[in-house]
């Protein structure tokens, strides 16, 4: 029971309380870059969840079996292994499920350079998560990223048809929206304080 509770806490913490985008500022490039439309934001989020899960597994394998004696190679091996794994998975999906490949589209390769992915691997290492905890952490982080992307896209679509002052139209406005969203997500911190 306590194990399960621990997992629920990891999930909730990664998805809403310490949301990767809004609290840790990870993955900001897609957050400001592709949130112009709702459906692309959702697809990017799903592709992110997928890659995060793979990354978490790859990082666990590296940490447990390979990097035990050479921790100073951690960063270099992480980035090389993650980039090539994602590339490999991309090829596999293209072969096995063209429909899924089309749905994810250009976003799959782009995600490789997303700092949220490397961030996940590093946080997982520094917190000493095992395999199951790591996967739950990855799922939570992915859900959190998707949530932030979709909400952001929804609000930005609205601001396009409304009278935003010319001076802050575009990037500056996106930062203000992100600030308010981040403020709102801070409220989730109260979720577990009584426990």
């Amino acid at each position: 029971m306590s194990d399960f509770g621990e997992l629920v806490f990891i999930f909730a913490s990664a998805s809403v309380i310490n949301n990767f985008t809004l609290a840790y500022f990870l993955g900001l490039c897609p957050f400001f870059g592709v949130t112009g439309r709702l459906d692309t934001a959702l697809r990017l989020g799903l592709a992110n969840i997928f890659v995060l899960l793979i990354t978490s597994f790859a990082a666990w394998v590296l940490n447990t079996f390979i990097l035990v004696n050479a921790p100073y190679l951690r960063l270099i091996s992480f980035i090389v292994v993650i980039a090539s794994t994602v590339q490999f998975v991309e090829m596999a999906i293209k072969k096995l499920s063209p429909a899924l490949f089309r749905a994810l589209g250009i976003f799959l390769p782009l995600i490789t350079t997303n700092c949220a992915i490397l961030g996940l691997a590093l946080f997982q290492t520094s917190r000493g998560y095992g395999l199951v905890e790591g996967l739950v952490f990855a799922l939570g982080a992915g859900v959190g990223l998707t949530l932030a992307l979709v909400i952001m896209a929804g609000i930005r679509v609205e601001t396009e048809v409304n009278g935003v002052p010319e001076l802050v139209r575009g990037t500056a406005m996106s930062f203000f929206i992100a600030g308010v969203l981040s403020l709102a997500f801070m409220g989730f911190a109260g979720l577990f304080s009584s426990a």
Binding site: L22, F32, V80, G119, A172
Partner: protein, 220 residues
Amino acid sequence: MSPRQPERHFGPELLKGLWRENPVFIAVLGLCPALAVTNSLLNGLVMGAATAFVLIGAATIVSLLRRLIPSQVRISTYIIIIATFVTVVDFLLAALMPEAHKQLGAFIALIVANCVILGRIEAFASKNPVGVSVADAVGMAGGFTLALSMIGAIRELLGSGSLLGFDVMGPRFEPWAIMILPPGGFLSMGVILAVFAYLEKRKARASEAASHPRDGEAAR
């Protein structure tokens, strides 16, 4: 083989990164470190210095090796070179400034994923000789550090009422706690970008008025 590059000079390459092509405020790159660690001026400076070390080192190496790196695998080569320098700076900070290293945490390692570095290396250092590449890297790193210090100073001043840990706002000042929390990062960046947009617009209007004094009035 490669098309002839236009003549490059040290001065302009060095200076452009500081303001006119500032990586954070103009190109809006490298946001992750620019917002995540800038809740105080000191953190901004340390992060800027660490990034500068990586950028200058990687740009030098890549520029020296630019004829040896096959173009098919160039991005992965750059990433490995960058990751090596980041590992070095990570251990350096852990040894020299353990307190700051603990505060910055995983964000030092995340310098690898900073798009300012890969962007400058791909766009500049891989195509230009060592001298100007280093000048470009120094300028961009300076601009990046400047931007981080600016955001860090604003957030520390309003959020803690101090600068570099010294109390400057006096005892009557009520700190805006929000500024050192994540939302403060987004909000200060938004305000800075709006100020830049305003300056840009005013400059455009001034130069327009100077070149066509009568057209400008007729249009209104």
